[in-house]
Symmetry: C2
């Protein structure tokens, strides 16, 4: 509709010309006419900035002004939107984003770490300045999930948000299952293929996915981003036996994020979970992402797509740019930052069944002692399997009925005291999806 | 962001108080504060209209003015948005929508039939008047697919849009498969459960889903809605044997809509298709809807959710209402109606493998003649199965290699001339998903 107002081109300054930044340049060059037809404005790049000016990125940059310094780019008079694709929760990305807001620019960013740590203060600053910060590309790559949640489901009180949002973890778990490989072997392979962040703990430790979950939770529940309260657990402890044995019982293991508002406060978890193998989440393979949005009116809505890569992430960036070109103005987290409540972390988690894996010493009465430790904590057993063994300890799997993590921790302490276990038991939550 | 401008409440007039209308009233009454927090405006209902004033709908309507006539409602001075939930492609819904635009109101509608037939003229009228028409609820119920396509994937040249968008058909096909029932039995059951439209051909003939496909195609490819060119084929001919035999070969049968822009023009089909049983579309069960959006940058994005029902459809209506409250102004089909090109229907369809089901008379050389008819049309056979039989004709299944529908029609004519077939063969396209 904006074409009637003839507002002139929307001028971008792009900071960061890695995979995503280069992808954005490519889309703008390839789809100039399409974007103008859809948004009613020409979308142009005025200036760019990156670490190295000389690197060949496979796109023509000579029409754009160059800045060595992202903050200088952010303050240029000839840009309307600062597109931050540098990454890093602090340092140059944060400085430049603040500079852009101070200079009256809108901001589009793919930086989940920066927003997970500084989202509230950035949103307040932007809204005080009458500017927007948009971050579709920060969560689940090309899937338009921020838009679906903020706008598409705006009439719902959200009840739960779940997601497999780290493609690398899902790739590792899928490859372990499909090829019967151990965690270490697949991890090494993923590192070699360049699938891992410079600090691999960001991926396999669940931190990257935890950032994304905290952003979705803020929108879903109208709270300030609270990454510090996300319960984080990585996939490093998952063995090929866990994968096989849970498959045996009809489950798959996923690094699953869950955020829900409960009477005990806001629960946010990014942990390995068992999900039914036949569910959409259970069927997700490789680097694909999936987000499940549950609202009181809409029920369950599932979105699935590419969670990373040049095209998909650049597509998400362009969604935000197109919105700004069309004149759409939204609060960063779907309602004014000043109205977001402080998140009260849940004092305890929602009850769930758990999968327990342990090795039991080959002693009379060993299993009875484990069962007693569970019973003493008020936990009843749904299914149990003891596997054949050649050595002095037997692999034992237990699926409990619904219990709280607190009760489970008491049972785990009780088990340790029985001295019939070899090593530490592993407990994985079974999420009802 | 709109709260700073303090624009006063957004006043709705709701025409139609069936399931969806009642659902919208419920959301507005239950989530007054939530909606105001998210949109920056109070959303209120000023007036309503429906066929019967006295019917008990389980919601309090006494605070709202009543109009017997929807067009009178549409013209009231105390409404900003006309919410059209009456249905019907012509008659009162169309009259009232035109009246609303003429009176300077924005329109939110769930009426796929009206937009499939009159979308272009309504969009032109609305845009000339500076008003918006939004229709998230018209396609795939609660799934925010219009938003995902129009806004979330705005940076993509779309390559293909697919969808299972009629819950009743998917329910019938799923129940046939799961319970081994014939089409007629499940159809009768669906009718009894109230799952069917007054004219059941709207559902099982693919018309309702075809309306939805034509709307998505207009957005995806920047063309004027062209429902008349949608190739329609219903599910009435699908037998339990087709379902079993295609399952045998790793497929499921779905009423699948496909729209794609080809060198031969715009292809729009809403027909039964075979899809791999292991694909997301193949795994879709019951009344759930799924839409697959494919773009040049984003790749494949899949959305899944409730395609009908009070809560989900009302949720979609509220998404549009919330957008208007937030000040978001979009062209009806994602770009100004005046710039939408006239759709040039494809002169022939994209090539695909086909599933052929026939009964062959028990005569020497019968199969050879069928194979010859295919070969003469340039079609080669990928797989063939002849099933055991007790009577004078044998069930034969053939899966062809890729071929065009034109070549297939030549082969089907050739087969008919062989006089070795009992009855008509059935051909179902195998869609690559």
């Amino acid at each position: 509709m904006t074409d009637h107002q003839n507002p002139g081109p929307l001028r971008l300054g792009i900071a960061g010309l890695g995979t995503v930044g280069t992808g954005v340049v490519k889309i703008i060059q390839r789809h100039t006419a399409l974007l103008a037809a859809r948004t009613g404005r020409e979308i142009v790049i005025s200036a760019v900035s990156a670490r190295s000016r000389d690197k060949d990125r496979g796109v023509r940059l000579s029409d754009y002004a160059w800045e060595d310094d992202a903050s200088a780019l952010a303050r240029r008079d000839d840009i309307d939107v600062f597109v931050e694709l540098m990454g890093g929760d602090n340092g140059p990305a944060l400085d430049a984003t603040r500079a852009a807001i101070a200079a009256g620019k809108d901001v589009v960013t793919a930086n989940k770490a920066m927003l997970a740590h500084h989202g509230q203060s950035l949103a307040e600053a932007a809204e005080a300045a009458g500017r927007v910060i948009r971050f579709e590309a920060a969560v689940a790559g090309g899937i338009p999930v921020v838009k679906a949640l903020t706008e598409g489901l705006a009439g719902n009180e959200m009840t739960r948000v779940m997601g497999v949002m780290n493609g690398t973890c899902n790739y590792i778990l899928t490859r372990m299952e499909q090829d019967g490989l151990g965690y270490d072997a697949v991890f090494a392979e993923a590192a070699e293929l360049g699938f891992l962040e410079a600090d691999p703990n960001l991926d396999v430790g669940g931190i990257d996915a935890g950032h994304k979950l905290a952003l979705l939770a803020a929108i879903a529940f109208g709270v300030q981003v609270d990454f510090g309260s996300v319960v984080l657990e990585g996939i490093q402890q998952i063995t090929i036996d866990d994968i096989r044995q849970s498959a045996d019982m009809g489950y798959r293991i996923k690094l699953l994020g869950v955020a829900q508002m409960t009477a005990r406060g806001l629960e946010q978890r990014m942990t390995p979970c068992l999900v039914p193998a036949a569910s959409p989440l259970g069927q997700l393979e490789g680097g694909t992402n999936m987000v499940v949005l549950e609202g009181d009116s809409v029920g369950q809505t599932v979105l699935r797509g590419a969670g990373a890569g040049m095209g998909p992430t650049a597509s998400a960036v362009m969604s935000d740019v197109a919105d700004i070109a069309r004149g759409t103005r939204l609060s960063t987290f779907g309602q004014p930052a000043s109205t977001l409540k402080s998140a009260k972390p849940a004092t305890s988690g929602t009850a769930a069944p758990y999968y327990l894996r342990m090795r039991l010493l080959d002693k009379p009465g060993a299993l009875a002692r484990i069962a007693t430790a569970l019973g003493d904590a008020g936990i009843s057993i749904n299914r149990m399997r003891q596997y054949g063994h050649a050595d002095t300890s037997a692999p034992v799997l237990i699926v409990t009925h619904k219990t709280t993590r607190d009760a489970l921790n008491i049972a785990l302490s009780g088990m340790a005291e029985t001295r019939v276990l070899q090593g530490e038991p592993l407990a994985i939550r079974i999420e009802s999806v």
